[in-house]
């Protein structure tokens, strides 16, 4: 999973890793964040299977790439396998060179991704979360989409959500998760057909 510091990528990765463990897999979840608390590039890598050794995923090795910000999808696209799945949030956070006017935020990012990647699911998790009156819940909407794509939507995620999310935000996040799971445009068997 890739995105920008402050988007809640590590939280979502933690929740997914716990769910995969409960599903009976060996799991490793590795995170890399830079200096800044907010605004820098953040990546996590989740590997699961019967027995996991290295937590590090290399070029063209990822089955699934989840981009919380669409520019980050471009930046890390090389990690995706040719038949891998891309889930990208159609959402912009300007990086520093764009903020100071040294560079432009590229046009047509979502369109290019759709054109190039065979299995691409690109939608605005931001807009869905905004309709729930909490734009910050877009990370949990994306988690819902990931769960759907991995075919893990029948599992009860609520105890894990309860562990990781403050009590006051629990109901909202359960709704955000369901919105992500129900998000239209997914082919039911995207994950299995790829294997």
């Amino acid at each position: 999973m890739v995105g920008v510091g402050g988007q809640g990528i590590i939280l979502v990765s933690d929740i997914l890793a716990e769910g995969l463990l409960l599903s009976g897999y060996d799991v490793k979840m590795s995170e890399l964040h830079g200096l800044a608390q907010r605004g820098g590039s953040v990546t996590t890598q989740i590997t699961f299977g019967d027995k996991i050794h290295s937590p590090v995923i290399g070029t063209a090795e990822a089955d699934l790439l989840v981009a919380f910000e669409k520019l980050e999808a471009i930046r890390y696209l090389r990690y995706l396998k040719p038949d891998g799945i891309l889930i990208a949030n159609d959402y912009e956070i300007f990086p520093l060179p764009v903020l100071i006017g040294a560079e432009r935020y590229p046009d047509q990012v979502a369109e290019s991704l759709r054109r190039s990647v065979k299995n691409a699911v690109i939608f605005s998790a931001f807009r869905i979360a905004e309709q729930l009156a909490e734009p910050r819940a877009q990370n949990i909407v994306l988690l819902g989409a990931v769960i759907k794509v991995l075919g893990l939507e029948k599992m009860d995620w609520s105890p894990i959500i309860k562990r990781f999310i403050p009590a006051g935000l629990y109901d909202l996040n359960i709704r955000a998760l369901q919105e992500g799971i129900d998000c239209p445009g997914f082919k039911e068997t995207l994950w299995d057909s790829r294997l």
Binding site: V27, A36, L71, L77, R78, L99, Y105
Partner: protein
Amino acid sequence: MKTEEETRRLMTGNEAIARGAFEAGCVVATSYPGTPGTEILENLATYPEVYCEWSSNEKVALEVACGASAVGSRALSAMKVVGLNVAMDPLMTFSYLGATGGLVIVVADDPGCSSSQTEQDNRLIAPFAKIPLFEPSDSQECKDYVKQAFELSEQYGIPVLLRITTRISHTKGVVILGQRMEFPPKAYVKTGNYLSTPALARKNHARLEEKLLQLEEYSNRCPQNSIEWNGGEIGVVTSGISYQHAKDVFEDGVSYLKLGLTHPPPRELIREFAAKVKNIYVIEENEPYLENQLKLLGIACIGKERLPKLYELSPEIIRNAFLSAAENKTYHVDIKAPERPPVLCPGCPHRTIFYAVSRYKDVVAANDIGCYTLGMMPPLNVTDTLICMGAGISAGIGIEKSFRKSGQKKKVFGFIGDSTFFHSGITGLIDAVWNKSSIAICILDNGTTAMTGHQAHPGTGKTITGENAPLLDIEKIVKAAGVKDENVRVVDAYNLREVEEAVKAAHDAEEVFVIIARQPCPLLKEVRKKRGNAVYQVQQDKCVHCKMCLGLGCPAIVLKEKEVSINREMCNACGLCWQVCKFDAIVRVGD
């Protein structure tokens, strides 16, 4: 008895180390926050059985742990890669004096420099300090090795180094929990064994060499060093995370000598392994530490001629180095993504003073380690040197003295944060006063150790567990160090005019001048609660596109299709943009 299911947890290496120390009966644990090792003490502090403290710096942290070990308690001190540099003084002496209660020093290295100023491979410290070195390769081993490190430390009377890397620290894996071992308290008996006089040092050095010989015997037969036999064609010698990468690449197609205790090196075991395999690959990150051991034994092997010394290893790099480089077909999009370097957060109180100082073209600035490091980034661009903790003041003294000797008319500013000031800024400040420097020192006090994720420090009035503690007042310390009352300004970091006036006074001063700029970090929960409902907005009809607000480099202020706007999700209503706008185009919304 609990079932395995109930005791199985996903833990990062840092969490697992904390758990291991708890289970090993650790009594005293110390640290100074630093990525990637910060969470070790944060987690250990959740066990009330262990006394934990954020110490003022790593040297102090290790000394506190040494004291506890000297009187018989199990003690742990954790630090980041460069933190060990700060703690070298007690480390070197205490290896001579030896541990009574087990003493484990955890160092979290950072191959790839994701958040550190060096990529130093601290495994090399173990032979230099003459202490045993453990290298766990996953979270479960982190827990197990910490416990073994305590045992070994007590058994041989020697401090033990446990070295992890970012990938171990920040990777979650499955860990099986165990019970805590409790030891009855030992009554202290005065022995004179901890008086590091030259006479005792000479004796202790000889004893230490004997201990290392005994430890090498242990290293040859310990369970942490083992052979995984898969035939004699290729043998891989490896340790730490590199073992996991190698397993991914070669699976069960090669034999492994997996080393978990790499100092003293198990020379007999290495020879035995080498005799059984035709070709040896040494797979390790950064320095050829294991490889040099093999070469000293006259064993031919392939290592750094194929693997890089720089940055992190990965299965991909190992595969390309030792197997045929597979052509990895992947997707390509014809768009170049602009870089996303770290930036000062929206609403960061440090922004104001950097903005004010950036207006002066004759300023040379020494900066320090912390969020304010990012004052170096455009459009602020205020930083000429960034060396290490504390050098934001002391390097500034050298710059200023040098300019004075060479007759260059420049004004030197030094920047340092509150936690860093307590860590190693105070000694620099004393030096500045004593040696009659004219440096303008800006102490950016955001009430927390922010960059590592909000840890307490001596100026927060709280301990690591959130208990109330005496609050050390930076202003009083500055004045007690000899800075004249009229040369100290405490300002509201969000009040641009106040900050600008203080910067002007500091710029004009010919003696040490100190500005303490105060505002809590906006990411702190209390501040978020207070300001969470307010934002600033641009009134498009009043905006003349002068771009003054863009000069602040705030990530929330966005220029798109010639229209300036403020991102609602990011803005936390610091109001700095409202102050720089000369056309009243920016307004506050909400309360």
